[in-house]
């Protein structure tokens, strides 16, 4: 191990420290999960400000319910599940205002902070690809889109996704296979046009 490198503390240990009132444990968890949650929630609600509010509320909720959290169960699963429920509630409230996906790529979320793509041609190609992705995602059923967002925006493993969705791992794997088949057909059809 390099000098000065801290050993990575496990989530259960962090939750135990947090339950003992150690705010530094919260900082570690917050740093670890907030970006993935933000990406995932923003993918669901297509509204950066709302996504930030939801992520903040999730962590506040975790602090409020600290006594009922079991450190040995997945805290990431718990956080993403709460985020998902909050996002769905938010979408229900405004479903007549904005359709999911409508503003999905509008705030430049797809532009990497230090992207390798420079120049107008590269930017145009990237914008085209983003538009394709947006259209394909929008056409997917909500549940399939949710799984892809958890996977690619939340960067969760399939086991974590299974915990978030409260489904057996086999079901999640089966669904991911089905999504691929559906996407493949969808993209093939588009290509023929």
């Amino acid at each position: 191990m390099n000098e000065g490198t801290k050993p990575v503390e496990s989530d259960p240990d962090l939750v135990r420290r947090l339950q003992a009132g150690d705010l530094t444990a919260f900082d570690v968890l917050f740093e670890k999960y907030r970006r993935g949650m933000l990406g995932y929630v923003n993918g669901l609600v297509s509204d950066r400000g709302l996504a930030e509010d939801i992520v903040q509320e999730c962590f506040a909720e975790m602090a409020r319910r600290l006594d009922s959290l079991d450190p040995d169960r997945s805290v990431s699963g718990w956080l993403f599940r709460v985020a998902r429920n909050r996002a769905i509630d938010a979408l229900r409230h405004r479903k007549f205002e904005v359709l999911p996906g409508d503003t999905y790529f509008r705030d430049g979320a797809r532009q990497p902070a230090t992207g390798p793509h420079e120049g107008p041609a590269a930017r145009m190609m990237e914008a085209e690809m983003q538009a394709d992705i947006r259209q394909a995602l929008d056409r997917l059923p909500d549940k399939d889109r949710d799984l892809l967002l958890l996977r690619f925006f939340g960067e969760l493993t399939f086991e974590q996704i299974a915990r978030v969705l409260r489904r057996p791992l086999g079901t999640v794997l089966w669904r991911s296979q089905r999504i691929l088949a559906r996407l493949r057909l969808q993209l093939k059809t588009e290509n023929k046009r």
Partner: protein, 193 residues
Amino acid sequence: MRCRKAMRVLMRDAGDLPGEVRVHFDECADCCRLSEFLAGLEQAGAGERARDLSAEKIRSTRLQVAEILAGRRTAPAAAPAWGLMRAAAWSLPVLAALAIGVMFFLSRGREAEGLRPAGPVEVARLDAEIDGLAGTLGRDMARFTEQHLAGEPPLPADEAESLRVDMELCALRLVEELAFIPARPLDDSGRLR
């Protein structure tokens, strides 16, 4: 035929999965569009995760959590429990009345379409059955893929047919999710007679 290249992109963390689904996928020459789409999605996810909460949001979340933790240390233990009980006492009858009302209106519409509400026991049974089935399917698919990669002959017709029937059964999940089951039998194409 599934796109193996796309599967590899989707299941990049296959090492996190149980042994039976730890499959290595080869390059696929025929179906690059799907893998390009997933790679684009992966890039979009990385771009999304590169963006953090605003500095103000980070500060206010931390402050909010610190306040909650401080309050947790000083608040009398009985207060939250009493508050919860009082909230539950008020909300349970209201929720029950709402649920009955919603079910009543949904039932009327659904009955006209030839569907009747499923009881909780039926829903639980269907849920367990379909989860079990989907889990088996996930494992089967991984096994078939491994066999295929190992150069074994394709599935015999009867096994493929059995797999197809299993997948059709999984489509019943839709019905289960709506908590309604058909009051009339289905014809061969799965439509209500």
